[in-house]
């Protein structure tokens, strides 16, 4: 159980990244959804011991994360949003290196583990290639492999699919979905589909605050039958925005498709739309 209580963080340049965030997260894949700049990464890095919050606390089991960083690191697997690689180092060497640092000091065990991981993330054929030459998807799979070293109890995966092409993303999410049930996996993303595909618990974060919290299905159920859509001309968008609670507008064949929230049928050419997580997301960050 990861308990985040009243976490706040303001950067020296005045940006308030977290405002009184509280979350309880239990085993399973937890999705943290939010737009760029919402504070997701700040939260992730804080949990991953890479920075401190100004106030509030994070408890993981009996570990006070901000005071016992070293203890948390022993059970942590972390795939950062962005990471580089040393030139002229192969995936295999790098995994060995990290495995050693994660406390596996038996060389044989280390070797077996690294081999198994490379096979599981389908990098075995490229194991002795330099990491610098990996494609985006391969690099992220390498990232997952290194995060899995050492039986972590808490895995943090920060925006792993950003920048991947659709096929790579699909393949990566397949991988993530297997990470398992008995530990906490926190996935932060700005892609709604990632969460709907993978998570059974989620929170939406915007402007440093948690704005929605729950199971994706029940969140969707709450707005089911209340989302209406209509295709309109570009020129009319402003007028509709004044008139209705527009939660989503997207281009569609040269026109604009808008979704609005309404308890009742608004008429006016709107048809009921099957609600999706996307609607929840946009409704909350708008």
């Amino acid at each position: 159980m990861l308990q985040i209580k009243n976490l706040s963080k303001t950067y020296p340049n005045g940006v308030q990244a977290l405002r009184d965030v509280s979350l309880d997260i239990s085993n399973g894949m937890f999705g943290l959804l939010g737009p760029n700049g919402a504070g997701k990464s700040t939260l992730m890095r804080t949990i991953a011991t890479l920075q401190d919050a100004d106030s509030g606390s994070i408890m993981f089991g009996g570990i006070d994360v901000m005071k016992q960083k070293h203890e948390l690191r022993k059970v942590l697997g972390y795939l950062p949003q962005e990471f580089g690689v040393y030139p002229k180092v192969s995936a295999e060497e790098m995994l060995h290196y990290i495995a050693r640092l994660k406390g596996i000091d038996n060389a044989k065990e280390r070797k077996e583990l690294v081999t198994a991981l490379l096979q599981q993330v389908n990098l075995y054929n490229h194991k002795s290639k330099f990491l610098g030459g990996y494609s985006g998807g391969m690099k992220q799979r390498f990232g997952i492999a290194q995060a899995l070293i050492g039986n972590p109890k808490l895995i943090i995966v920060d925006e792993p699919t950003a920048g991947l092409d659709p096929a790579e993303r699909l393949r990566f999410n397949n991988l993530l979905s297997e990470i398992g049930e008995n530990i906490i996996v926190i996935l932060s993303t700005h892609i709604v589909d990632d969460v709907s595909e993978l998570c059974n618990d989620m929170a939406i974060i915007a402007n440093g605050q948690v704005v929605q919290r729950g199971n994706p299905e029940s969140l969707i159920a709450a707005v089911q039958n209340k989302i209406w859509s209509r295709r309109i001309k570009k020129a009319d968008v402003t007028a509709y925005q004044e008139k209705y609670k527009v939660i989503l507008s997207k281009l569609s064949g040269g026109d604009v498709m808008i979704h609005i929230f309404s308890e009742e049928n608004p008429g006016d050419g709107f048809a009921m739309e099957r609600a999706g997580l996307e609607d929840i997301y946009f409704a909350n960050i708008a």
Partner: protein, 1208 residues
């Protein structure tokens, strides 16, 4: 467009805070240095180029601005220009800029000109700093002359601006070609090292013109211009853009433009930063577009055991360290550095240990010291560079996001980096060692002493590098920017290696310092080892604190503010680090205490200022006793026990004192060197200690019965040298050594009466200590001073008897003949006795000697040397024989039956002549590698031997009075003797080379004269360049001009008149009288010129044409330009009318002299001709180097064929 780019760039730099920081730092550096040389702190002496050169004279301003701008400014050039050019690549703005329609020319040169402009603005800070310092009220007004803006301006346009242009162009081109900041730093090292190599390679006399041209910074050209400048010129003229200097500047400005063009042509608007050494190939992966169950199964992963704890961390540390080392070895740049370093080391090895342009054998300590010395700065720079790279690597490569969240304590990261860095230093020192062995092998020297390499490089030098590495990592850990770190380190290193010692005085405050280490083949590392270790433990414990601090404050995570890290360092987890710091501090402080106890309590610590102040006090308090009647020593009988292992000496002695004055003497004044302790003192007629100054060591004994004129009494005393602990600085010969003790009587035996020799002689120093002006020597007319000789005030000629004892495996030697040798109580005794009176000047040596003896005409020639130093014994024997033969034939018989040469450790490099005893440093001659077939090599073991043997006549037979000029009777005449012996032994060619080196020495030293140059007959004791260099040249010339044996005849009569005579002692006036007696009227002017005036010539062959005559002979027509100058004591030279004898020689293609004629040539141009039988090649004016010539490079000219056949 150009203008737009230019102004945009300039504005960007002017907005940047770093511009002002650079300016401020440069300003402060120069301001501080300016104050330093301006004499703000009287205790700190930093003179460049002589005491009489004003701090704000044009040469000093030029040297300061050029050097600071070149060495510190260069970092700024790289930072600014490198940044400007690479900016678009590092900031990824390349794609934006390169797709605009800006032209390549405008883009590049707009940037370049703007950044160069900014650099020049920044560099003005140095000029301002210097001006501010010199016009501040804190500088010493005596060191200043009037302010001249033109000096500063001249330096800027002659040196600073062209050099900045060149540096800029180099790094502009490199940046464009490599586009990698690392390569730029690398090229910076290459640039420095290239300058270093050219400095050492072209330092010899022959390469002077070439080096003046090829030196990119113009320093050599300036040196060539001003080498022989007088003090007056240095104070009043700045360099003019003419001759070599002009060509040099034009050449390098041209090179700058070529470099700019090369960089320009290499550049194209392609988007990505180019890597020099590898290309990335992106891997393709067969992406599967449809869902497929992934292979990932956490449960199927092999079970591993995790362990956290010390042992694991140590294992991780090991693993990480191995990894760091492997990465280093794989680093392409590092490999280049190794290759390049090797090249450098092999190249510089040609200059190994040269004396008189002649090599020494590549014995291991010389090779190790020389190569490490050369490579030192490269290792330092690379250490700084890699420290930055290592500390910032994870962040630079954005790997820190993963690594920082791993369960590894900071110290594991920290120490793995440290190990990598230290390993790198080990590799570099291995390179030095390997190159050293290669160099030795190439030179055919197979006696590799691996222990010396290992001890010197990995025992002594490595520790300093490690300390430096720890410091560098600390700095890089603390700063928020790698380049700021580099800059801080560069400044710190500069400070620490130059000014820190001057300002802070005590080694306890100078990071990494130690008392010094000097290896000697005789004495090994000797007594340097223990204090070195103590000092390194001292600094090592501080470094341990640094290490713990670095590890505590190791930047980790995404926020790396120092305040935040400090907060983390105070967490409970970090307690161990503070414990280490505490332990480190305890060791540091206790070690510091121990050092202080040794250097300041057990031994006396005095800064040079305090030392001088004590001398001043001595003069102030006791000068009143100068010239009061005191007895003189007439006989000494000594027992000297040397304890090499304890480095102690116990002596007992009996002096016979005689009242040679006409007054009764009621008290005896006794002085003793501060290192020695005077024990029991007894006068045969009874006396009591009436006065004792324990600080200065001045004692006055009141005699119970006054000594009447002619009375003699015995003075019995004990004296000791006891070595306690260690001193602040490594002291070589001052006390007994483990092997190679060399002490003379002044170092531990008492002397009688006030001794003027201990007064401060230098008048600038005197002024600093508020003492009045004092002529450096007694005037030659001071007949009172004729009463004592220049070596000792308290004795004339004495009887000498000494019994020495030492350890059984050493031989102890003093002047005199060995009477008896025996062993008692495990001590080896030697009794020496001299059979004729000697000067009160004698030595004591003890070492493990090998002995080689030869008999020559009834004289025993002996060399006492260290095993392994057999190389030049035959040359020394030859030198002894040839010189004994020459001097006894030409001057007077040799007074002893024995000549002994005794090797002593290289802590000092001189040879010195005592009666029948010549201590000779191992550093000059024993390991010389003279190649007789080379036209360049000077056989200096032979020459030094000849010089020292000559002192058996000139010093030990005839000694001058204690007045100005007297050193001529000792040194100049000995030098003359040596040159004559050499002239008989070697070719004219070699002698000419030797005389040229001597002439160059004389001319450049006189240009650095601190007091005033005096004519030969009146010189001061300190003016070595006159008594040796000028003296030797002019006496050799005089011999040639007078011809035959006239001069030797005069000298012989002079020696016979004055040998072994007591007072009054002779002076140069007497010498000149004897010389003038044999000089014809037509050459009296020459005697006057060399002895009584400072005479210089500017002789030149202006034109030389060759004509073949019908009879097969050759006519040589040439014109000589001649000018004679007299210089005053400040170096102001005035041409004078002349009509002097000057020789002209004609040489063939094999440098053989065909004909030598002596002409009387007036000032101005004179046309002359000569007829020779063989085809000549060149004409040389004054080929035998008889006249002091201000520019002897124009003394020869190749003949050109005449147009028509001359008919008579």
């Amino acid at each position: 467009m150009f203008g737009h780019i230019f102004t945009f760039e300039v504005r960007r730099w002017l907005r940047s805070i770093s511009t002002y920081i650079y300016m401020l730092i440069l300003f402060l550096i120069t301001f501080f240095t300016g104050l330093l040389i301006g004499g703000t702190w009287p205790g700190v002496t930093a003179n460049f180029g002589g005491e009489k050169i004003f701090a704000n004279s044009p040469v000093i301003i030029d040297a300061m601005l050029t050097n600071i701008n070149t060495y510190v400014g260069l970092i700024i050039v790289v930072a600014v220009i490198g940044n400007s050019v690479l900016k678009d690549f590092t900031n990824n703005t390349a794609a934006l800029i390169f797709t605009t329609p800006v032209s390549k020319f405008n883009y590049l040169f707009g940037r370049f000109c703007a950044s160069l402009f900014i650099v020049l603005i920044i560099l003005t800070a140095t000029g301002l700093g210097l001006m501010a310092a010199f016009s501040s009220p804190w500088v010493n007004a005596d060191r200043m002359e009037a302010f001249h803006l033109s000096y500063y301006v001249a330096t800027y346009w002659q040196s600073v601006i062209p050099n900045a242009l060149l540096d800029g162009a180099i790094f502009f081109a490199v940046s464009l070609i490599a586009r990698d900041i690392f390569v730029i730093w690398l090229s910076l090292i290459v640039f420095f090292v290239a300058i270093g190599i050219s400095n050492s390679y072209f330092s010899s006399l022959e390469h002077q013109t070439l080096s003046a041209l090829v030196d990119p910074l113009g320093t050599h050209a300036k040196r060539a211009i001003s080498k022989y400048w007088s003090t007056y010129q240095k104070n009043h003229y700045h360099y003019t853009m003419t001759g070599l200097f002009l060509y040099n500047r034009l050449l390098w400005i041209g090179v700058s433009f070529v470099l700019l063009a090369v960089g320009y042509s290499f550049f194209s608007f392609t988007g990505t930063a180019r890597k020099l050494f590898f290309n990335k190939i992106k891997l393709k992966d067969n992406a599967i577009p449809v869902f497929k169950k992934s292979d990932l199964n956490r449960d199927a992963l092999p079970k591993v055991t995790l362990s956290f704890g010390r042992v694991t961390y140590l294992k991780s540390l090991w693993g990480l360290s191995v990894n760091e080392c492997k990465t280093l070895l794989r680093n392409t740049y590092f490999r280049i550095i190794l290759l390049f370093g090797m090249l450098l080391l092999l190249l510089v090895s040609f200059q190994l240990g040269k004396i008189y342009d002649t090599s020494t054998y590549p014995v291991t300590y010389i090779v190790a010291e020389f190569l490490e010395g050369t490579f030192h700065i490269v290792i330092v720079v690379i250490t700084f560079m890699f420290a930055g790279e290592l500390v910032w690597k994870a962040r630079d490569y954005r790997m820190s996001n993963i690594l920082d969240a791993l369960p590894v304590p900071n110290w594991v990261f920290y120490f793995s980096k440290m190990v990598g860095l230290m390993f790198m230093q080990v590799i570099l020192l291995c390179l030095v060692m390997v190159c050293g062995i290669l160099v030795q092998t190439f030179m055919g020297y197979m006696h590799y002493e691996l222990p010396v390499y290992l001890e010197y490089l990995f025992g002594f030098r490595l520790i300093d590098f490690w300390l430096l590495a720890i410091l560098a990592v600390l700095v890089q850990t603390l700063v928020g920017n790698k380049y700021v770190g580099y800059f801080i380190l560069a400044i710190f290193y500069l400070w620490n290696s130059t000014f820190a010692q001057l300002v802070l005085k005590h080694n306890l405050f100078v990071f990494m310092s130690d008392p010094g280490v000097e290896y000697s083949d005789m004495n090994g590392f000797g007594h340097a080892i223990f204090p070195y270790i103590v000092f390194k433990v001292y600094w090592g414990s501080l470094a341990l604190c640094f290490a713990a601090l670095s590890s505590l404050l190791w930047a980790r995570g995404s926020e790396t503010g120092l305040r935040l890290r400090w907060r983390h360092a105070k967490l409970k987890e970090a307690r161990a680090g503070w414990v280490v710091i505490l332990i480190g501090l305890i060791v540091f402080i206790s070690c510091g205490g121990f050092i202080y106890y040794n250097t300041n309590v057990q031994n006396e610590f005095r800064t040079s200022f305090q030392q001088e102040e004590q001398q001043a006090n001595y003069e102030r308090l006791y000068k009143k006793y100068n010239n009061i009647p005191q007895p003189k020593i007439t006989a000494v009988k000594l027992d000297v026990d040397i304890y090499p292992k304890e480095r102690n000496l116990h002596a007992g002695g009996v002096f016979t004192l005689k009242n040679k004055s006409v007054h009764p003497i009621d008290s005896v004044h006794i002085l003793i060197a501060s290192d020695a302790k005077l024990g029991k003192v007894n006068f045969s007629t009874g006396a009591r200690l009436a006065f004792y100054d324990s600080v200065i060591g001045y004692r006055i004994y009141k005699l119970t019965q006054p000594m009447q004129p002619g009375d003699s009494i015995l003075l019995t005393f004990n004296t000791d040298i006891i070595t306690h602990g260690f001193q602040h600085n490594f002291s070589g010969l001052g006390a007994p050594l483990y092997n190679g003790t060399f002490l003379n009587n002044t170092s531990f035996l008492p002397s009688i009466g006030y001794n003027e020799g201990y007064e401060l002689a230098d008048n600038t120093t005197r002024k600093k200590h508020k003492l009045g002006y004092r002529p450096t020597s007694h005037p030659i007319t001071d007949t009172l001073a004729y009463q004592h000789n220049e070596l000792s005030q308290d004795a004339d000629f004495i009887d000498f008897d000494a019994t020495l004892s030492t350890v059984p495996d050493q031989i102890a030697i003093a002047p005199g003949y060995l009477q008896k040798e025996w062993t008692t109580n495990g001590r080896r005794y030697f009794h020496y006795k001299m059979d004729s009176p000697i000067l009160n000047f004698y030595s004591f040596l003890s070492a493990r000697y090998e002995v080689k003896k030869e008999m020559w005409n009834g004289i025993s020639l002996e060399i006492y040397y260290t095993k392994g130093h057999e190389y030049n014994l035959d040359r020394m024997f030859n030198g002894m024989k040839k010189s004994l033969a020459y001097y006894s034939a030409e001057f007077s018989p040799y007074q002893h039956r024995q000549v002994r040469i005794l090797e002593f450790p290289r802590y000092s490099t001189f040879a010195q002549s005592f009666p029948n005893t010549i201590p000779f440093s191992e550093g000059i001659g024993f390991i010389a590698d003279v190649n007789d077939s080379s036209k360049d090599d000077v056989d200096y073991p032979f020459y030094i031997t000849a010089h020292e043997v000559a002192h058996q006549w000139f010093a030990h037979q005839v000694i001058g009075a204690d007045v100005e000029g007297s050193v001529v009777l000792v040194e100049t005449l000995a030098q003359y003797g040596a040159i004559m012996v050499m002239q008989n032994e070697y070719t004219a060619e070699k002698l000419r080379k030797f005389l040229h080196i001597e002439m160059d020495n004389y001319l450049s030293s006189r240009s650095n004269e601190g007091e005033k140059e005096k004519p030969l007959a009146y010189i001061d004791e300190g003016q070595g360049y006159i008594r040796y260099q000028k003296g030797g040249i002019v006496m050799h010339a005089l011999n040639n001009y007078l011809g035959g044996d006239s001069l030797n005849h005069a000298l012989s009569r002079f020696v016979h008149r004055y040998a072994f005579q007591g007072p009054p002692y002779p002076t140069t006036l007497d010498l000149m009288r004897y010389i003038r007696e044999v000089t014809p009227d037509s050459l009296q002017y020459f005697v006057t010129d060399i002895f009584e005036k400072i005479t210089l010539y500017k002789n030149k062959v202006a034109e030389a044409k060759l004509t073949k005559m019908p009879d097969g002979k050759y006519q040589v027509n040439f014109s000589i330009e001649s000018q004679k100058l007299y210089s005053d004591s400040t170096g102001l030279e005035k041409p004078v009318a002349s009509n002097d004898y000057i020789e002209v020689g004609v040489y063939n293609g094999k440098r053989k002299m065909l004909k030598l004629e002596r002409y009387k040539i007036p000032g101005g141009t004179t046309k002359l001709s000569m007829i020779v039988d063989e085809k000549p090649e060149k004409v040389i004016v004054d080929p035998r180097v008889l006249l002091i010539d201000k520019d002897f490079n124009d003394n020869e000219l190749k003949l050109t064929e005449g147009a028509a056949v001359a008919k008579k």
